[in-house]
Symmetry: C2
Amino acid sequence: MSQTDSKMEVNPDLVRERAKCNFNTLELTHIIDGGEENTLQRKKIENIALNSGAWKDTVGEEHMSHKEKYENSVRKSVIYGSIMKNELAELSGLEEFGANFLAVRRTGNAFFKEVTPVFQHFGQFIPTILGQCTPEQQSYWLPRALDMNILGTYAQTELGHGTFIRGLETTATYDPETEEFVLHSPTLSSYKWWAGGLGKTVNYCIVIAQLYTKGECHGTHLFIVQVRDEETHMPLPGIKVGEIGPKMGYNTGDNGFLGFDKHRIPREHLMMKHAQVLKDGTYVKVARHGKLSYGTMVFIRVVLVSDAAFYLSKACTIAVRYSAIRRQSKPRPDEIEAQILDYATQQHKLFIAIATAHALQFCSKWLWQSYTALLAQMKGGNTDSLPELHALSSGMKAISASDSAQLIEQCRLACGGHGYMMASGIPHLYTYVTATRTFEGDYTVLMLQTARFLVKAYKQAEASQPLTPTVSYLAHAFSGSKATWDSRPDGIIRSFQAVAAGKIAASVRNIRKRLQAGLSEIDAWELSTIQLVAAAEAHCRAVIADTYRKEIVRLTANSSPNVKVVMDQLTTLYLYYWALEKTGDLLIYTSVSEMDLVDLQEAYEELLQKIRPNAVGLVDAFDLRDEILHSTLGSYDGRVYERLMEEALKSPMNKEPVNEAHFKYIKPFMLKGKL
Amino acid sequence: MSQTDSKMEVNPDLVRERAKCNFNTLELTHIIDGGEENTLQRKKIENIALNSGAWKDTVGEEHMSHKEKYENSVRKSVIYGSIMKNELAELSGLEEFGANFLAVRRTGNAFFKEVTPVFQHFGQFIPTILGQCTPEQQSYWLPRALDMNILGTYAQTELGHGTFIRGLETTATYDPETEEFVLHSPTLSSYKWWAGGLGKTVNYCIVIAQLYTKGECHGTHLFIVQVRDEETHMPLPGIKVGEIGPKMGYNTGDNGFLGFDKHRIPREHLMMKHAQVLKDGTYVKVARHGKLSYGTMVFIRVVLVSDAAFYLSKACTIAVRYSAIRRQSKPRPDEIEAQILDYATQQHKLFIAIATAHALQFCSKWLWQSYTALLAQMKGGNTDSLPELHALSSGMKAISASDSAQLIEQCRLACGGHGYMMASGIPHLYTYVTATRTFEGDYTVLMLQTARFLVKAYKQAEASQPLTPTVSYLAHAFSGSKATWDSRPDGIIRSFQAVAAGKIAASVRNIRKRLQAGLSEIDAWELSTIQLVAAAEAHCRAVIADTYRKEIVRLTANSSPNVKVVMDQLTTLYLYYWALEKTGDLLIYTSVSEMDLVDLQEAYEELLQKIRPNAVGLVDAFDLRDEILHSTLGSYDGRVYERLMEEALKSPMNKEPVNEAHFKYIKPFMLKGKL
């Protein structure tokens, strides 16, 4: 049911909450969408994609077997693909990471809570052809891929090898006799593992393998490999392919494994934009692609920051609406039970989640702008900003996945037992986001990449060299005195920067101490990694806080007063929350006093009360249609208990009054009495 | 495969790790089990229950539909029930929370990763008959329940009502004409919701309802209600019963809903130990049961602390063994890839999990001893210790569920992508433990119960009244000066107590300040709840740290030197870890200096290195058989990649080379080309 349906019966508690909201939620929606025009375009897309109801399952996916989940997801992929290609074709610019891209991701979420088996075809197969093939190769592969005459995916990770790409074991050995590459999986641990859609769906796959020619290894390269027959869909000889089995989430996608038994592919299937192997086996490096290939990686990370924000906004919407409806305990005997949203502890759990959803949303847009600016610079040959953006996107991806997952769980737990029901819609959000903490760069690995950049920047600051914007605060790291505490928002941001600077400095001191003690560079770094991760976290939090605040000030410059106030309250809440989480750091690296912290705690608690009346309005402003929320607890109309019961009655378990297991197993057991 | 199988081929990395371990793991196993005799008894039980392989599924449960999971679980319940009644019958004392009880819980875990549909029959139906029925009633119900002529469960929670029992809506109105109670569900929100086994399995149910007689409500009482026909298993007229649908976990159990349409039951089905309704409708209170009924609640909470420890020990075992096998990155070009267990960041994630598993394990045993001591006192009419034990078991249950769940996820994330596979065995551990954070008392609600006890104790301390043991530290809360920092273990424990005392004092100050500002008691308390929860947490952490340390000192008094050393290292690690997590609190409430914290961080990192060589030995000492672990990553032999592939090949998805969805959906879509 859409929010605009005037005949809708809405839970009276929600009606009251909405009447109480003192700002125009639509105005905030426009800010979140990046302007009224974007909102209108998004709604248009949502109407086209969702109004037909084609996203619906006849039986809830959670009731299905692993195999049925896959088959149902393929069924819907074809329906959704058809809508994309037909009804949505008129709308241009879908390929851009703009309003349309985000709107399509949202509607995709109505069809697939986590993923479709063809996601990698569009998300990695086609982009990699664009990025890694010669124009000649592109003209061969691209039309077939775009028309879906072939379906592909991308296989990098192996059973025994993840992050460390150089450790990949799959080999591609050139045979000049036949002008073919021989792909081989020398060990079990070299089997490709994880690629989405690889299990049963695709017939082509981009494979990363160690390239050997003329007896020499040239490192990892990309190959386009046909894995299944285009007619029969049977795996080709020399190919072992299958599905890897159930996961914590993503079970609507068929992640697969792939092994080669001396499987031959034509020489031309090496993706040759950056390196070629000539017919005689001569290896020719065409262009260095080191820095350029960062581009795609940065892009994916920006998308993941945006995902973290989006999934968290769903969790907030569900938990806040439910908390306005759910009543528990009578503080006063003469009153009815209180809305749980009125409890300070509940506000403490939920309002930071709303603020964080905003913070990550605006950070992802800002990162996206930095990324497009960088692309423009790189076209002009200037790659100066790349290291900073790479470090930033690594750290932001890591911390946004981590914070979002943790807060989604906090929202779920705030919904009590009902949050544990799959029908609440929250468990899926967690299983999705927690996966993004690992894939495309594990949290700790990414944090250490950010830390490496920070240590370098610190040394530049030490040598009074110029610093890039996000680390410019390091210039103040050498004053010798603690940063002055100032409880106004900008003051708190400066304190977070002082904490980051202090932690980076402490890490550098530790590394140097260990070097002086005679340890190698490698060991000195390794033994300091716990603190380096903490330093990188502090840096990322400072950047997020700063960006969130600045973006809100900028975006609400012309807003109506009440929107300005509530946005200011939320950014302030975010700053207070993290200051109170990090009192130890503040006491060490700033002049904050114990009394200041007592005042801060009090100010934080007052802020919760101020935000309370607008809470439902704030989540309404995310404007998430019920079809996208998939939640009995969070729907716009608040028919919580009715929906829970309706869902339960749909259970195949309830289609028959007596389950056959009773007569098959229990009854004979009971009859035996004492056995 | 059992650890004692001498023909087992073990991963060479694990062989090396085990050779490197410098203490006798069996000696530690005995300590964990509470003595060599218990270990032998446990192994005997495990051999009987598991060696036949009856726990095995032909198809992995994760592949099944929701309904199939239930049916498969019923199938295994009957097998396991038969083993319990026959093969295990010779072993006495199974009902006790001693070695046998725990051993049976462990073997149950081999059959059911989370729960069996008949769990509530044994866990709540029978115990409640014992606790709430008159001897006459018991003689009628108990034999039938014990012989499983009837199967029952316990239904308290309603769709709209959880924690606040007084808010329950189901009514039981006495009709003296027919000498029956009329059970009724006046609203949708009054439907019973959640009871385990209620959906499809049981035919009887204990129902909690508001008792009305002679026009007066006497509050909630318990009734035994038949819900299904004993022959046909059909729901009785006037009863609406069904299954509530898929949950985040526990899907092998059929949680159910139950509604009444003026359903009549005999007067005698009121459980009459504490109150009766005479034939004419006169209500007679037989005995006050307030304090006594705490007993069962405390018991369940003690079991849940033990569960938190057990599930966490499984997660540690899996993650540590896998981290010894998994290799990633070459710090040095000339060496092979490093075991990820060698990374400081990995040790930082995992060793605290091992220490916490021990801490919770020993705390649960200590709580159990306190509980049995209390029961003995109560028989003598002395209930003095009850409030303390109630507060303690509330807080310990809450914090152990929370810490265990968080650390299980930390273990899972430390296993990278493979941790996300259901076959890793870790996702199930999380979905089990995270549920225990909510049921039997939500985290926040329990923490506030503990806080209420602490505030009372604080006021007693203020008035120089005697204090019960776990809060005796409050006597030092009025010295006016900060606690002296001392980095030795006992000193850190005193600091944790000082932090708890400081936070309780600050909460009391806040409540009083709000009272002085004219707020009511209720509002002053409510507005202080965020800080009260934090104070209760600090108290529980201090108690756990103190108990863990003391129990280890006591239990290793006669141990061999190396066991003593490694146990001392782990308790110290636990103290350092939490001190470093709470630097803000220490800086506020103790005399710790910034330099002290730098030293502490260094000492912590050194400790990780010291524990590293014994890590695999430490998890081996949990002595968790592979059948109980259910993990491709954590098996004793370390055949990680082989098992992952073997599991994948068992997938029903891989039974056919081409899935029918290809021809049904994808092929027609592809043929349409551009559509």
